[in-house]
Amino acid sequence: MIEFDQVHKAYEVEGRAIPALQPTSLAIENGEVFGIVGHSGAGKSTLVRLINLLERPSGGRIVIDGEDVTGYDSKDLRDFRRKVGMIFQHFNLLSSKTVEDNIAFPMKLAGIYSRDEIRTRVAELLERVGLTHHARKFPSQLSGGQKQRVGIARALACRPTILLCDEATSALDPQTTQSVLRLLGDLNRELKLTIVLITHEMDVVRRVCDRVAVMDAGDVVEMGPVTDVFLHPKHATTRDFVFESEHVDEQEMEANFEKAEGRILRLTFRGESTYKPLLGSVARQTGVDFSILSGRIDRIKDTPYGQLTLSLVGGDLPAAQAALEAADVHVEVVR
């Protein structure tokens, strides 16, 4: 488990302290995929780099699996870092080493593996990320997606329990992003790997994360299960991200509401209720008429969900609302 206890960070620039992370407490469970979103400069990288102490905290405690890592001496710190893999937006592979040498690099640095162990492990990792035929190539001869796979293999070489991803898919096209995310998801399941993933795309969060933290100006402003944060965003920054990812224009939506009559409800279905023929039966039973103003049916990781905005007229409105709520649908009265 990764625990932050009132951790804060200010960068020292020309004698002045520039705050980058306000005092933050959070806990990331073992085996979970934890997303961090926020605008540029919000402090996402700072937070993640504190986990493997690439940045020293200005205060607070960072506890990993029950041990306070902020007090480690340099030897302990190096051993600890081996248990935390990291991948980067620009891959940061050594251009002077081949793919296999890049993957072997952290094992060689560790100095505790035999040549045979390294060779076997590298072959295994190459196979796992699907790059067996590219072992002897140099990074410059690979595509972005392949480079990130090398980055992932390298990060996994010393069998870490935590993987930090700083915008690992931001430099990739949508298709490649998808395949890299799928790989990360598989690794999370197969290896019980804890993954902390920074992104500025809500879509990435939606696809792989279990929980998400939203950051704004050095603060974690919202944190929770992705389904909650996604379907019921509270903070303005979160709403921005969610609406943007759903291609919803808030003003246009409100303009649409102007034209609609009657009561406007936003219904959120989750899990199995998404597929039930609920609306028709409620309409029949209560005599309300509805029209759909906007809607979307999709998945968050493995959970299907639907979100519909309806205008209802006529019939027994309170009864309709009650019937929907009784059927496990979240009902929000928009107007």
């Binding site: 870092r81 990291m86 640095l109």
Partner: protein
Amino acid sequence: MEDLLTNVDWGEIGGASWDTLVMVGASLFFSVLFGLPLGVLLFLTGKRQLLEQPVAYAVLSFVVNVLRSVPFIILLIVMIPFTVMLIGTSLGVAGAIPPLVAGGAPFFARLVETSLREVDRGIIEATQAMGATVRQVIFGALLPEAMPGIIAGITVTAITLVSYAAMSGVIGGGGLGDLAIRFGYQRFQTDVMVITVALLVIFVQILQMVGDRLVLYFSRR
């Protein structure tokens, strides 16, 4: 052809070429030997680098700048007593080497510093994140990544040393420069001058070509 080159003693030219080769080779060797660690140190102690040490950086940087800002011809003369103390003479091929190194090493050190700075910070960070020691970062990541730049730096240094070595002829340093000054300049033997200059040009061309090849070989970008 023979009529044109009446003053040229090919045996002497051959000997002088060999002397130049030795001077450049030896001084290049020592320039790299001293300049490389100096360059690495300059880089590491620099601002926001692995071993940031403002005072150490300022001192090293000052020494390097002083050596680099003294015109080489002056350095040659200033170094004479020191050279005599070091190897017993300030003349000939051996006497030229200490001033050549004094001029070449700081020059090369700056080039090393620059090529290390060009290594992507992200690579240093990634290496640190793997649990590398500072030593491992230097030898495992920084130097291999900067290798093309360092090789290019060696080439530039070698070429600079060729011209410095020629200059050392002024204080009796030996080699092609010495020949050019003694015969070409002082005795107006233009043909000797032309031949020595041509040889120097060829020498520089070869160095550049070999250097470029090596850079190409070492850059996998």
